[in-house]
């Protein structure tokens, strides 16, 4: 904590120092708190009186320490009562919901409506002998806002799957609340605790300023401030020290509360960032050889990606894609296949210049219809996005603005790319919605995104993506979130739209089956590299890379023998930064030999229109044909 948050560590140290010295006042204080010395009244700070003296010549420093004992004790009672009331009740209210929630919240709302100071003054005047009761009452009055916050946080996590899992595991309700809900909401609880503690200090000081807490000659911070205010015309030291220590404690509580929240929440996120930092460090040692010079693309290509490398993070060399080369001809449907973490989405998003976070292209070129995409900016970039290239994202619901009706979301795209009137745009929108085969398009245009189903939302986002008649549509896992029946319908739609509009499609998917339904050609990506590309049928029936072969084999099909285990690719995709220097797939490959782990494997042509990044590509092809001949 000291190194990561020096300021918070200092605040904590200060807070602990104040508390410890106050508690240990009888041992630490240089004078008894009520030792008067009329000869040295109202002195300024000096060596013998560190904080000066008061009207009766009592040492202010000692009185601050003794007064701190009283003030902090009562503040602790107030915040303790507030916390013990608000946290359990808030958790129970949020977790249980229903009548329990309604009952607790009704009482809480009444509590919120009470004027705190007035009620406390009434209680104080009734129980003037029992200050503790008044302080407990104050604690109860400070609880409602905190209760509300804790309830809100608990309410948000009560429907999480892990809570269901705990119910299924047979945990009792208190166990669920205190083991699962409380740790999950400890961030807001800690912040609220700090706020309540600070409020408690302020209220205690305020009440003792009014003369309620300390009975003279007893000292408290509030009474010191009050006395200081009386003698302000003669000396301002008492007011300064009394107010100063209150301010310091309140400030420190706020800073420490925030830091504790960060640390508490960080305990379950820090691990992954530490791991990625470690990877980055290792990465610098084993740098990849420089990417080979980009090859010229065929002139007929609509999109040409040459030597593309994409990096994330602050370090230049945390590559997520390396030396990616491919072209898409006009009107062609091309698939980009691979497991998650292989870099396919990064490649797709770089084409439309939408790399998320700190991702950026570090090498290579992207050319669209002869234009340099990476050099586009301003209005050119805006008209390129949507006008030349459309984009359909995986989560249809997340891609639509929930606060805007469906129709206007498409109209705005039309009007951004063409100068047409509002009425024309509305008309064209309805045509588009009909084109993506939505029933009752005029009605759909008036609905909000939450009023339509996931499949319909995906149709709407496709309609929006093709609104400005782009020549290339990038569809990033467009069907992964959908049911099979909807998936088939959406693929159908994409195929027809492509044909109708003469539009090329880049389909990103982890499922070779999906790609094979729509695409003519496909690229297979593994750990940042294209490992094979060619006509889809060739990839499926005569793969020239073991990864392609394995991807096709591990999916159960209607002919899979049910008694045999499925083929698996052992292990998992290495994270960016953990890629080996040799063949990236070697560690999981069933064909691996010595030759695979010696040097990087280049991607090379194998047969007509095909490329493979495997030293055994030609042998795989030959064996494949032999097997087919036998069959």
């Amino acid at each position: 904590m000291v190194r990561r948050r020096p300021f918070a560590a200092f605040a904590l140290a200060l807070l602990v120092l104040v508390i410890v010295t106050c508690v240990a006042a009888p041992l630490v204080a240089p004078y008894p708190p009520d030792k008067t010395n009329l000869l040295s009244s109202l002195q300024g700070p000096s060596l013998s009186h560190l904080a000066g003296t008061d009207k009766l010549g009592r040492d202010t420093f000692s009185r601050l320490l003794y007064g701190g004992r009283l003030t902090l004790l009562y503040a602790a009672i107030v915040s303790g009562v507030a916390l013990l009331t608000a946290v359990p009740l808030g958790l129970i209210s949020g977790y249980r919901g229903g009548p329990v929630d309604r009952a607790i919240m009704s009482v809480n709302d009444i509590g919120l409506a009470l004027p705190v100071l007035v009620v406390v003054l009434v209680v104080l005047s009734v129980f003037s002998e029992y200050l503790v009761i008044a302080m407990a009452a104050l604690g109860l009055l400070l609880a409602p806002p905190m209760l509300r916050t804790v309830r809100g946080a608990a309410l948000a996590v009560r429907r999480e799957l892990f809570v269901d899992a705990a119910v299924v595991a047979g945990l009792s309700r208190p166990q669920i609340v205190f083991r699962h809900i409380l740790p999950r909401v400890r961030g807001p609880v800690l912040v609220q605790s700090a706020i309540v503690a600070a409020l408690a200090v302020q209220f205690t000081v305020g009440l003792s300023f009014l003369g309620f807490v300390a009975n003279p000659p007893e000292a408290s911070w509030g009474s010191i401030i009050a006395e200081g205010a009386q003698v302000l015309s003669k000396s301002s030291w008492m007011l300064l020290f009394g107010g100063g220590i209150t301010a310091v404690v309140v400030l420190c509580l706020g800073i420490v509360g925030d830091a504790l929240r960060d640390i508490a929440v960080g305990s379950w996120t820090r691990e992954s960032t530490a791991a990625s930092r470690r990877r980055r460090g290792r990465r610098r040692v084993a740098a990849e050889p420089p990417a080979p010079a980009p090859r010229p693309a065929s002139s007929a290509a609509l999109l040409a990606v040459r030597g593309l490398s994409i990096a994330f993070g602050e370090d230049e060399d945390l590559l997520v894609a390396r030396d990616v080369n491919f072209t898409i001809e006009p009107g062609q449907a091309v698939g980009l296949v691979g497991e998650s973490g292989c870099g396919k989405t990064s490649v797709a998003r770089s084409i439309i210049r939408l790399l998320s976070g700190d991702g950026r292209v570090v090498a290579g070129q992207i050319e669209f219809d002869g234009r340099d995409v990476l050099g586009l900016s301003g209005a050119d970039l805006a008209s390129y996005r949507g006008g030349s290239v459309g984009y359909v994202a995986q989560m249809p619901m997340a891609a639509l603005d929930p606060t805007v009706r469906v129709g206007p979301q498409i109209e705005e795209v039309l009007r951004a790319h063409e100068s047409i009137s509002r009425a024309e745009a509305r008309e064209r929108t309805i045509e588009l919605l009909a084109k993506v085969r939505l029933p009752k398009p005029a009605e759909v245009a008036r609905l909000y995104p939450h009023e339509i189903s996931g499949g319909m939302a995906q149709r709407v986002s496709i309609a929006r993506a093709v609104a400005a008649k782009p020549r290339l549509l990038i569809a990033d896992e467009p069907t992964t979130a959908l049911d099979v029946t909807l998936q088939a319908a959406i693929l159908d739609l994409l195929r027809n739209l492509g044909r109708e509009l003469g539009m090329a499609i880049l389909l990103v998917s982890h499922d070779l089956g999906v790609v094979s339904e729509l695409c003519d050609r496909a690229m297979v990506m593994y750990a940042g590299e294209i490992v094979e590309q060619g006509p889809v049928d060739d990839l499926l029936f005569a793969p020239a890379h073991p990864y392609t072969e394995a991807l096709a084999a591990c999916r159960p099909s209607s002919t899979t023998v049910r008694d045999r285990p499925l083929l698996v690719i052992p292990g998992q995709v290495p994270a960016p930064g953990d890629w080996p220097r040799h063949c990236h797939f070697a560690d999981r490959c069933s064909h691996r030999t010595e030759q695979c782990v010696q040097r990087p494997v280049p991607i090379e042509p194998v047969g007509k229109g095909r490329e493979s990044r495997c030293v055994y590509a030609t042998e795989m092809l030959r064996e494949g044909t032999r097997e087919k001949a036998r069959a």
Binding site: F162, A165, G170, W268, E339, V484, A488, A489, R555, R562
Partner: protein
């Protein structure tokens, strides 16, 4: 005949919102024998997840009975349920969301056996054994879920489900969120574990190929009702109900591009389970619907291959089907 491990009889579940009541499950009956896997297929909104949740006691049943091992658990309260909770466990769809991110993995695994016969030392030993069984390093126990990949989290969720040696595991789309390659690892693991300890699975999914591979029998759900039920091989490869046929046609098959497209009617606006109407639940999207389909709800009737089908056209309709295909090709 021995009584089945799980028997669901005429189960209904209603969700009440402010304006209307939505019937998510409508009179569903099914049974799972010891050591058997029953696959439950359907699209989202068909009530398959709700059925699983009703068995787990996470959703209150409106009508019908759920009997587990001879014991009526339909309306068992939280406290009662805890007594036999170690016998029914679940693996959920989202592996990240089903593990508490704020707790160490060991805490998540061990809590499932608190209160059982296992001593803390035995529980730790079982955890170590299960982590090894699902191919995760023992050190995983001291980490937080965020440090793991989706596939690892799902294997962990499986390990957690098995901590108490349950007899029934509800698998709610356990591989839908995973990559194809990782799916195979998890599916294999589930089958091996089943063979080792004679587990029963209720396997919920929307991918017919995956469900067929995992299941002994399959029940197809549409708008809260079973439209077809029978041996996995029959339902998945020679389906009789038009909806199951559409499902089979929609499942992507590697290398099969020019297949007949599912003849599904248009999607309806809003929630699929919204209005409960008379007649067949599938009538609005069914290409073969005749008048009687709109007025009468078909009952499940036995077919020739050991399956049961809820369709007015059954068993004649395979012929109707070929006729239509013939017309189309002309």
């Amino acid at each position: 005949m021995p009584s089945p491990l799980l028997e669901i009889d005429d189960l209904s579940v209603d969700f009440r919102t402010r304006r209307r009541t939505v019937r998510a499950v409508a009179g569903l009956s099914l049974r799972i024998e010891l050591g058997e896997t029953l696959g439950l297929v359907g699209e989202s909104g068909s009530g398959k997840t709700t059925t699983g949740r009703a068995v787990l006691g996470l959703t209150e049943a409106t009508g019908g009975r759920i009997v587990f091992d001879g014991r009526d658990i339909t309306h068992a309260g939280h406290k009662q349920r805890r007594i036999w909770a170690d016998q029914i466990r679940a693996v959920f769809q989202d592996p990240f969301a089903s593990l508490n991110p704020a707790r160490r993995i060991a805490d998540s695994l061990l809590e499932g056996v608190t209160g059982s016969r296992l001593t803390p030392a035995d529980a730790r030993a079982r955890m170590a054994q299960l982590l090894d069984r699902v191919s995760l390093p023992a050190a995983t126990a001291d980490r937080y879920p965020t440090a793991l990949s989706g596939g690892q989290c799902q294997r962990l969720a499986i390990a957690r489900a098995l901590m108490s040696s349950p007899r029934l595991v509800i698998c709610d789309e356990p591989v839908s969120g995973l990559d194809v390659s990782v799916q195979a690892q998890v599916l294999n693991l589930l089958r091996e574990l089943q063979r080792e300890s004679s587990l029963s699975f209720l396997f919920i999914g929307h991918d017919l190929d995956v469900v067929r591979y995992m299941s002994d029998r399959i029940a197809v759900l549409y708008r809260g009702q079973i439209v077809e039920e029978g041996p996995a091989e029959v339902v998945a490869t020679r389906p009789s109900h038009p909806y199951t046929q559409a499902l089979v046609a929609a499942t992507p098959e590697i290398g099969v591009r020019s297949r007949p497209h599912p003849r599904l009617g248009p999607e309806r606006l809003g929630d699929a389970a919204e209005e409960a109407t008379a007649g067949c639940p599938y009538v609005e999207r069914c290409p073969l619907a005749i008048d009687v389909c709109r007025t009468e709800t078909p009952a499940l009737r036995p077919g020739e291959a050991g399956d049961r089908v809820a369709c007015h056209l059954h068993p004649e309709h395979p012929n109707v089907n070929t006729n239509i295909q013939g017309q189309e090709s002309k």
